[in-house]
């Protein structure tokens, strides 16, 4: 299907002789199968980014076929399974998938059967007046035909006629989504950040329960992918969800009783703790190339040895985590937690439990904002790094609060505020990352040194080089902190914060 001058139709049934029987009499319809019907596997990332971007990718008989929402289709050879889009062998499909998330693997998300046909509308001289292709696809629960037709120069009238006939038969709904909805009506989309509906006067305890319940579900949706080790983003999303839950518990002060707050906080911290090391190792391994670029090639041997250790340790961590996620105890913990937040009965309300969401949000955010400003304004060139770390944590808490309550506020204003906050956070985040990495490198060396404190020379050299680089970068980030904050602390943003979260006293 070359679709420059083209029509593209999704029909909610399988193509047959009667589909185009309303054509004028002197024209005939010729359909020729390109191959026998064969089974296909629908591929997408776990987050359905292909679907979201209007792509439909199937694999069958060692071929990859991609359909794009503009009607263009691509085909290439590819035997391999569970791949990343950027690792596909070079070809039309892989180039059409350029720019797709590098961290997400393509996985099988559905099965079906496909028959591709070529279509030609011929006149009385057997001259082709309209050319096209027909993909007839079916699954256990639905069927869809995708017809792409090409406008041939000089035969525009017949093209328009075919378009008109097909347009009357197209599936309801958004054009491209109809392919998915027709074939996989029950497929549940995955959202790492689902929309949560909040009411302005909703009691805070219900808001907390809504958010926690939602993210518990997100975390659970990632378990399988973590266990299968499909890509690193399953664990990442799993951790982010749990971290959000933990933040709700600790930031929504007084919503749950003190004892329940302590208990829940500990529970979620434990859940997270078992994943921390593996995530760190994932990040190192993902950034491997970056590390190699940081130091000269004559130090690479030690780095290679270090990454081999990381790889091995990651294997051990993975085995441990997999066992844990599969255990009955873990399953019970998660089910119990779900039951706790599913209805308010098991929740113990604290003194703020009944405060209306909007009023409570304003109070929390305003307080946290003031704290951030106070701390940030006190930071000068000579302030110890510890305070910068504190600022990072406070900014993070502010950001979480704002994101949790975002549905209650004006979206555009929020975007305006979040942009410079995000920039400040990126700065602080890098500052922290470089500092954490230096510590991690040091602890790596001490773990792999002999009892006399001796270190393998190559590893020592490489790690030394890296630490020096990390330290330089950390200093550079540190030098930017004050100016990043000043950008966040401009009069417009100050005014916005006040008008959004602190109107009462004005």
């Amino acid at each position: 299907m070359k679709m420059k001058n083209a029509g593209f139709f999704v029909l909610p049934f399988l193509f047959n002789e009667t589909t185009l029987d309303q054509m004028p009499e002197h024209l005939s319809v010729k359909i020729e199968p390109n191959s026998a019907p064969r089974s296909f596997t629908l591929l997408d990332c776990h987050d359905q980014s292909l679907r979201a971007k209007g792509r439909f990718l199937i694999q069958s008989d060692g071929m990859l076929q991609l359909l794009r929402s503009d009607g263009q289709s691509f085909i290439q050879h590819c035997e391999a399974k569970d791949q990343f889009a950027q690792d596909l062998p070079a070809g039309p499909v892989s180039s059409a998938l350029k720019g797709f998330p590098v961290l997400r693997a393509l996985i099988a998300v559905g099965q079906g059967e496909i028959q591709t046909n070529s279509l030609a509308i011929l006149d009385d001289l057997q001259k082709t007046q309209v050319r096209g292709s027909v993909w007839s696809m079916s699954t256990d629960v639905g069927q869809v035909t995708v017809v792409g037709i090409e406008k041939l120069r000089g035969y525009e009238r017949v093209f328009a006629k075919v378009c008109a006939v097909l347009a009357e038969k197209v599936a309801q709904g958004k054009r491209f989504e109809a392919v998915y909805q027709g074939l996989f009506p029950d497929m549940r989309p995955y959202h790492a950040k689902p929309d949560i509906h909040l009411g302005k006067n909703e009691p805070s305890i219900e808001v907390a329960a809504d958010i926690i319940r939602t993210y518990l579900a997100v975390a659970r949706q990632n378990e399988e992918g973590v266990i299968a080790d499909t890509d690193t983003e399953f664990l990442h999303d799993y951790r982010v969800s749990l971290r959000k839950i933990r933040s709700v518990i600790s930031l929504f002060k007084g919503v749950f009783s003190e004892s329940q707050t302590v208990e829940l906080k500990q529970l979620f911290s434990e859940l997270m703790a078992s994943t921390g090391r593996m995530r760190d190792l994932d990040v190192y391994l993902l950034e491997k190339d970056m590390y190699f670029k940081l130091i000269p090639p004559n130090l690479h041997a030690g780095l290679q040895a270090m990454f081999e250790q990381f790889q091995e340790e990651r294997g051990q961590e993975f085995t441990r985590l997999k066992r844990r996620l599969r255990s009955a105890a873990y399953d019970k913990t998660m089910k119990d937690l779900n039951a706790v937040f599913d209805g308010p009965s098991q929740l113990e309300p604290g003194k703020n439990a009944q405060r209306g969401a909007y009023e409570y949000a304003c109070a929390l955010i305003w307080k946290r904002y003031r704290k951030v400003c106070k701390l940030a304004r006190s930071i000068s060139e000579n302030t110890p790094d510890d305070l910068v770390h504190d600022l990072r944590i406070d900014c993070k808490k502010l950001r979480y609060l704002m994101e949790f309550f975002a549905p209650l506020f004006h979206a555009k204003d929020f975007k305006t505020i979040i942009k410079p906050l995000k920039r400040l956070q990126d700065n602080l985040g890098l500052f922290n990352d470089f500092s954490v990495q230096q510590a991690a490198l040091l602890s790596f060396v001490s773990r792999y040194s002999t009892t006399q404190g001796r270190v393998d020379a190559q590893i020592g050299l490489a790690v030394g080089g890296l630490i020096a680089m990390m330290n330089q970068r950390q200093r550079a980030e540190r030098d930017r902190v004050m100016s990043s904050f000043q950008q966040f602390d401009g009069p417009d943003i100050r005014h916005l914060f006040r008008s959004l979260f602190h109107q009462t006293e004005e």
Binding site: K2, K4, N5, D123, L125, Q126, K127, T128, L152, R153, G154, Y155
Partner: protein, 251 residues
């Protein structure tokens, strides 16, 4: 954009078959091709099952570029369009001069999906008694099929003389032997003579006299689509290779 004219000052030499099969070979090689059927009998249009455009026979045809470009028809082959022009001699001359003028509306309008055609093949009207100087000026290459007979030798002499007299670039002339029957001694001798006399004008490849080429009328399609393995199909392909890439097959 390259303009290739299939021309012969003698009729019945396989000119239209050459236009059709060469145009198809260029399109198969990934080029955007427009085949202009300037033959009043519409022979190349016939081979592509394209119906002649009645509108274009009207006198005011050249005043209306849009009508002209609207007459272009996609063939059944990717990248190959056909213009069933059916022109009078006077119109044909105007057509050629405008084709070369970058600023003429005709030239600007002759595009495929917004960009210039890579190759325009002109299937020129056959039985011109006068030699058309415009063809020779407009075309980048002039493909001249020559049947190796005494009569053809004389016509070709005339053509060369015309070029000499008018100081035209003879380099453009790419003649080849057409409808060659190797069992005829006369064909052999003529070919030998002409290759000696006009060594630089003749392509190495020639096209045989073949039933498969005659069958184009029945199949209404280029030879390679219905007789892909035939010597005739190979001959046109070789002709294309030699024209386009200077490659002469070793057989």
């Amino acid at each position: 954009m390259k303009i290739i004219a299939c021309y012969s000052n003698k009729g019945g030499v396989g000119k239209t078959a050459t236009s059709v099969n060469l145009a198809h070979a260029y399109a198969q090689a990934g080029k955007q091709v427009l085949l202009c059927d300037l033959d009043p009998q519409g022979a190349s249009s016939f081979y592509f099952r394209v119906k002649p455009s009645k509108k274009l026979t009207e006198a005011r045809f050249f005043e209306d570029v849009k009508r002209f470009t609207n007459a272009i028809r996609a063939s059944d082959f990717e990248g190959l369009d056909v213009l069933p022009a059916n022109l009078t001699f006077r119109d044909f001359d105007v057509f050629l001069s405008r084709m070369r003028n970058k600023r003429s509306r005709l030239k600007k309008a002759l595009t495929s999906a917004g960009s210039d055609y890579d190759v325009i093949v002109l299937d020129c009207p056959p039985n011109f008694s006068t030699l058309s100087e415009n063809i020779f000026k407009a075309a980048d290459e002039i493909i001249v099929p020559v049947i190796p007979t005494t009569l053809s030798e004389r016509t070709f002499d005339q053509l060369i003389r015309f070029f000499d007299e008018n100081k035209l670039r003879k380099k453009k002339l790419r003649a080849f032997f057409s409808m060659v029957q190797l069992r005829k001694t006369l064909h052999h001798e003529t070919m030998e003579n002409m290759r000696t006399a006009y060594s630089k004008r003749f392509l190495q490849n020639s096209v045989p006299f073949a039933a498969d080429i005659e069958k184009m009328g029945q199949h209404r399609a280029p030879v390679s689509t219905y007789a892909g393995r035939s010597p005739a199909s190979a001959a046109y392909q070789a002709l294309y290779d030699e024209l386009e890439n200077g490659v002469v097959s070793s057989k």
